[in-house]
């Protein structure tokens, strides 16, 4: 090549390009069950390549603390990822996401404070050419705002999921006005900074903007119910991609722009897909305060509302199961809470050994995160052929002897099909009531995530098996063994 391009810069840029390609193919592969794992590994490899290229481009590493930072961060991340329980995955992802948002905000802050990006030309190592402009400056500020919102928003989401913050929506009066004010002020401040030339007054505004963005993150997530957190995390994830893209505009790095906006767009569409699976609109999730009213008024479906509920003891269940030719398990959030997946599989294996046809019906939004049930049942190594998705199995209930529902509630609510004014109306549900006999294992008659009454519990062919999911299953298994 002619022109003043050093071999390092050339090599680094080739590396960046390759890593962008790898990210794209990685994301593409992550979208299919068969290739998902290799897709993730490809993306991880791309990240490594991008980092190595960055080091090649920088030539020297100074200060050496950088390396310490990399090691510390990696160790913390990996240990946390290995230690976390399968059921706590969403919380963990929220924390990681917040961490990434904070990092983008810090990068932008550093660009402002130490490289004076909005004020004077930056000699970007990666481009080697002066590119001072209001665009860079605005990008710095947007990166700070979006990064900070992602950070505190993710922390609140983590708190709600892990029970450290109340999971139910906290609806401050006038919150829409407050949020709008915070948003406008932080954006206005950002614009002001860009047109302030020279030091300290600018710094004051930057700090004010940062604080406002941090508060905004809390305010936006606090009014959303705990059950909607997966959607919120996915959205915040899209934000953190956007924050990285903005940081890329700030420092003129194409890798950051491309990878960041890839994630931003992918996260957004994923959020929409998730909402669709729950039969909700994104607006409804973000501003609806779903699950708040019933908490405030009377419970949406207390024990008092039910009449004619039949219940069964473990022995009775075992007795009936002895004669059953076909059985479908329907797991729900309660199975996750009581960690009953291994027992479910044990019971399934016992029944299969007796010659009974055993299947598992997986509702797309059973549990509290998408794919929750698949992950848990996979953990308990339930054979893949026994797992069926909603539309594959929904016609099979009619011809099935018995259904065992373990800690599921909303996903088996007949009102979703029959009752027009139910909040669940329109969501596809598993038609368990069509089976000859149905058992529902849960601790009480209290409602599920949607806080509505479930008429299934009053059905003629339905028996409640009260108790913790794990304990109830243990007893049933014991009785079945003795029989």
């Amino acid at each position: 090549m002619t022109g003043p391009v050093s071999p390092q810069v050339l090599a680094a840029n080739a590396g960046y390009l390759a890593s962008v390609l790898m990210f794209m193919f990685g994301i593409m592969r992550m979208g299919k069950v068969k290739t998902a794992r290799s897709g993730n590994q490809l993306a991880a490899g791309a990240m490594l390549l991008a980092m190595v290229s960055q080091f090649v481009e920088m030539g020297r590493i100074e200060p050496w603390f950088i390396v310490a930072g990399i090691v510390i961060g990696s160790v913390v991340g990996v240990v946390a990822a290995i230690k976390v329980e399968m059921t706590e995955m969403p919380e963990m992802v929220a924390l990681f996401n917040g961490s990434g948002g904070l990092a983008s905000a810090l990068v932008a802050l550093a660009a402002y404070a130490f490289h004076h990006i909005p004020m004077q030309p930056l000699m970007s190592a990666s481009m080697g050419e002066a590119a001072p402009s209001a665009v860079n400056g605005l990008a710095v500020m947007l990166s700070i705002v979006i990064g900070c919102v992602t950070f505190t928003g993710s922390l609140i989401a983590f708190g709600k999921l892990s029970g450290k913050v109340s999971g139910s929506p906290v609806l401050l009066p006038g919150r829409h006005v407050i949020n709008a004010a915070l948003l406008i002020m932080s954006l206005g401040g950002s614009v002001m900074v860009v047109f302030t030339t020279g030091g300290m007054p600018g710094m004051g505004i930057v700090i004010a903007v940062t604080v406002m963005a941090l508060i905004l993150g809390v305010m936006l997530v606090i009014p959303i119910g705990g059950g909607d957190m997966p959607v919120v995390i996915s959205l915040l994830n899209s934000y953190s991609g956007l924050a990285a893209a903005m940081a890329g505009f700030a420092i003129n790095s194409q890798v950051l722009i491309v990878s960041g906006s890839l994630v931003g767009a992918a996260g957004l569409i994923l959020t929409q897909i998730m909402c669709k699976a729950m039969n909700r609109s994104l607006t409804n999730v973000l501003f609806g305060g779903f699950g708040a009213e019933p908490e405030a008024g009377g419970k949406g479906g207390g024990a008092d509302e039910y009449t004619n509920v039949k219940s069964a003891e473990a022995e009775e269940v075992a007795m009936i199961l002895e004669d059953v030719q076909s059985l479908i398990f329907v797991p729900g959030y309660g199975m996750a809470v009581s960690q009953a997946q291994h027992l479910v599989r044990e019971l399934g294996d016992m029944m299969a050994a007796r010659g009974c046809q055993v299947r598992y019906a997986i509702h797309p939004v059973a549990g509290r995160m998408p794919g929750h049930m698949n992950v848990l049942l996979a953990e308990a190594s339930v054979p893949y052929e026994q797992l069926f998705e909603l539309d594959q199995i929904n016609n099979e209930f009619k011809a099935t002897d018995a259904v065992i529902v373990i800690g599921a509630n909303d996903v088996v609510n007949p009102d979703a099909v029959n009752k027009k004014d139910s909040p669940l109306y329109g969501m596809p549900v598993l038609n368990v009531w069509e089976a000859r006999t149905c058992f529902v294992i849960k601790r009480s008659l209290s409602p599920g995530f949607a806080m509505v009454k479930n008429p299934l519990f009053e059905a003629d062919n339905n028996y409640m098996v009260f108790g913790d999911g794990r304990k109830a299953l243990e007893e049933i298994i014991k009785c079945l063994k003795e029989a």
């Binding site: 991340g77 990434g100 990285a244 790095s253 890798v255 906006s261 699976a277 794919g371």
Partner: protein, 95 residues
């Protein structure tokens, strides 16, 4: 001139379209792993953290920079690891 910034808009738009197109029909099973994998990729900001810290001697810059590096690395390493763990389960079951 603003050549670089301008071109940045092209890559931004193209990447958004590509990102959108890549995730068209994802089965619900993969929503959580995909979310977490995408999250890990957003840790790409680590490059910015490295670039901003490198060769800037002041203590303040070093502290802010190292913090940025640490947080970004938590996101990257943890994100890919946790995704791998989730997906490993699907893998084992597929066999």
């Amino acid at each position: 001139m603003t050549g670089e910034v301008l071109v940045g808009f092209y890559t931004f738009i193209l990447a958004c379209v590509a990102g959108y197109q890549l995730i068209t029909k994802v089965p619900p099973t993969l929503h959580t792993p995909l979310m977490s994998g995408a999250n890990a990729i957003s840790g790409i900001t680590i490059l910015g953290a490295l670039a901003m810290t490198n060769g800037h001697g002041t203590i303040a810059a070093t502290i802010v920079g190292c913090l940025a590096v640490i947080f970004a690395m938590v996101n990257v390493a943890g994100g890919f690891m946790v995704t791998e763990r989730m997906l490993k389960m699907f893998g084992s079951k597929k066999k």
